[in-house]
Symmetry: C2
Subunit: 162 residues, 2 copies
C-alpha cells in the first residue's frame, strides 16, 4: 500500500478533526487545543511555531490516516517538541505512528535540530503509548508530579538526534 507524508493543507481540516475525535484519546478541551494548533499552522505557516505533516494512504484518492504537529522550542538551541501525533484508530498496527515519528526526526535533523522532546500524561502512557516511545528509543528524562491533575504526572521523553 502506498503511503506518503506531506505538509498540511487547508482541505485536511475535516479529516484531522475526525481522526482526533475518533481516536477517543482526548478530552473535549484537548481536542479543542489540537484543532486550534491546526488553525494556527494553516493561518500563519511556520511563524506560528507549529509544523504539521499528514500521512496519507492509497493512490489516486489517498486518505489521510494520521498527522503530527511539532515545532522548535523557543529559547533553546536545537530542541523541538512533538506536540501531537494521532493515527486513525481504524489504521492502528500498520506502523503509521512510527512512520510519522521518523519523518519528524529526519525533518528536525534537516532543520539543524539536535533533540526531540515528547511531553505526555502519565495516564495516557499506560500501555501502548509508552511502549511506542521506548521502542523508538526515547528516554523518560523528567517527570512533573501532579501536573495535569492530582495523580496525573507530566512525563517528558527525549531523544538525542545527533
Amino acid at each position: 500500500m502506498h503511503v506518503h507524508i506531506r505538509p498540511l493543507q487547508p482541505a485536511d481540516r475535516a479529516r484531522i478533526n475526525d481522526i482526533v475525535i475518533s481516536s477517543g484519546k482526548f478530552t473535549e478541551v484537548e481536542t479543542g487545543v489540537a484543532l486550534e494548533l491546526i488553525e494556527e499552522a494553516l493561518e500563519k505557516g511556520e511563524p506560528s511555531g507549529y509544523i504539521v505533516a499528514v500521512l496519507e494512504e492509497g493512490e489516486g484518492q489517498p486518505v489521510v490516516r494520521g498527522y503530527v504537529c511539532y515545532g522548535p522550542v523557543p529559547l533553546t538551541d536545537g530542541v523541538y517538541d512533538l506536540y501531537w501525533i494521532v493515527v486513525d484508530p481504524s489504521s492502528q498496527g500498520k506502523g503509521f505512528g512510527r512512520r510519522l515519528l521518523e519523518h519528524v526526526e529526519r525533518d528536525v535533523v534537516a532543520r539543524g535540530g539536535r533533540m526531540l522532546l515528547i511531553e505526555t500524561s502519565s495516564q495516557q502512557t499506560y500501555g501502548a503509548t509508552i511502549r511506542f516511545y521506548e521502542r523508538s528509543d526515547y528516554d523518560l528524562t523528567a517527570r512533573v508530579r501532579d501536573f495535569y491533575r492530582m495523580g496525573d504526572d507530566k512525563l517528558i521523553f527525549s531523544k538525542n538526534l545527533k
Copy 2:
C-alpha cells in the same frame, strides 16, 4: 517606603524594557521574548494567557521597580507557570522579588489554582536565584538535561499552594 503591586498598564512599557535590559540577566533573544509577552498581555488582556503585575515604589510619582508575568498552564487543572520575574538591579535586596512572588501565589490561589511552577536555566540558577526559590519553599521537581543548550539544563521548581 511605600510599595504597591498593581496590574500592567500601557505606560509601563518603557520602564519594563529598561528593567529587563539593565538586569543584565537575559540574552537579546530572551529580552525579545520577555517584551513580546508584555505586548501580548497589553493587547489581548488575560485571553493572551499572560497575567502581568508591576511593583512600584514611592508615593506621588511612584517608580516601577520590577514585574512578574505568569499564567495558567493549558490542559492542567489549576497549575500556573511563572514565566518571568525581574527586579531592577538598583533595587535588589529590598525584598521586591519576594513581594512579587507572594503576590503571584496569592493571586493564583484566588483564581482557584493549586500549584505554581517556575522553569529556569541551570546556568541562571547558580547562586542567588536558586537560593531565592528554595527560601520561598519551592522544590526542584524535575530537570530536563541539555534543554537550553548542551550543559544547560531546564530546572522546574514547584510549590503546592494548597
